[in-house]
Symmetry: C3
Subunit: 140 residues, 3 copies
């Protein structure tokens, strides 16, 4: 068994949910040749997150943005951490609801995603800047 | 260190939360002998999910179904992705709230679950069909 | 590649969100020397959870407690599992929303957390007792 690791930086994206499967597959091809193994993508931030969901219809990703905005309100007067912008504390909460990493099996040399699965970068800030991902793959 | 992988198919289950610890343990026994390691279970779908929770009282799993139905409403007029059935878009959202995989340590040759922990398959569709799981274990 | 594992017990903490990065780093130093790899922290309970979020301002963690209490209500008359205390069923739900483990890359011999990332132990019970964590690290 061996392990490979690469840190990549994604250019700033608008607030919302974005497919990044292609970027992860490309990084994985760069870093090594694993037939059976695992690939983790980890985001080094606390106001953006990663998840796996439907890779086809863009309205699914728009509904994600709508749902999470409705569920994690901005400007709740109960927030104490309110001095970094109305989108900041909700971004932290959304990040923990969705998670800071995805872990995907590698089968026959490829990510074993289901037909309809893609990797989402979930940008919860209005101006989140570029985002740093650590991609690690191990196996044989 | 070595790594084993197996893809299993679970027969269709009714909408709700179902214990599948036994099925995972059985697959793990089939695929190899690891004393110290990790086991990941990954679901290759975007309208069902996996989580770890209480393995004893079935009312916990009924309360999960109640809570997630209340929190992620069907027929929200704000949904744009509404043409695959009232249960479809909520299923995608629930899947990302809960997650597409669980990762469990292997200790002394067994899943190191706590006394009360079990693995749940969370079926969010009314008629989800059979579900495909990739089970990967690595260690020594 | 090699793998190390250690089970540690954290003393009881009050209900709320607590930084435990230091405890994890200490355990990691004890268990071995990995330059490039992964570290998983797994909690063996169903009413407490683990997540990664902002490591600086304590009000972020207070807002987490406020948000999750508001989102996952106590004493919902719809709960069937209600005989272990008003905080019990909400604790199970919060645990699955947040997750039972975190998985962090190891880069240059250290946890590759972003500048603002820390590991939270999320104690959802009023009197949760001590909590058992399985820490596993693998790599080379």
């Amino acid at each position: 068994m061996t392990i490979y690791q690469q840190i990549i930086s994604l250019p700033e994206k608008p607030r919302g949910f974005h497919l990044i499967t292609r970027e992860v597959v490309r990084a994985l091809q760069d870093i090594g040749n694993i037939r059976t193994g695992m690939c983790q993508v980890f985001i080094q931030h606390t106001s953006a997150s990663l998840t796996i969901n439907e890779n086809a219809d863009p309205t699914v990703r728009e509904d994600f943005e709508m749902f999470f905005n409705k569920t994690v309100k901005e400007n709740d007067p109960a927030y104490k951490h309110d001095y970094e912008g109305a989108d900041d504390m909700p971004a932290h909460l959304k990040a923990s609801l969705l998670g800071s990493s995805v872990l995907i099996p590698i089968h026959n040399g490829q990510l074993a995603l289901g037909t309809w699965q893609g990797i989402y970068l979930c940008e919860h800030r209005n101006h989140g800047g570029s985002r740093s991902l650590v991609i690690t793959a191990w196996g044989q």
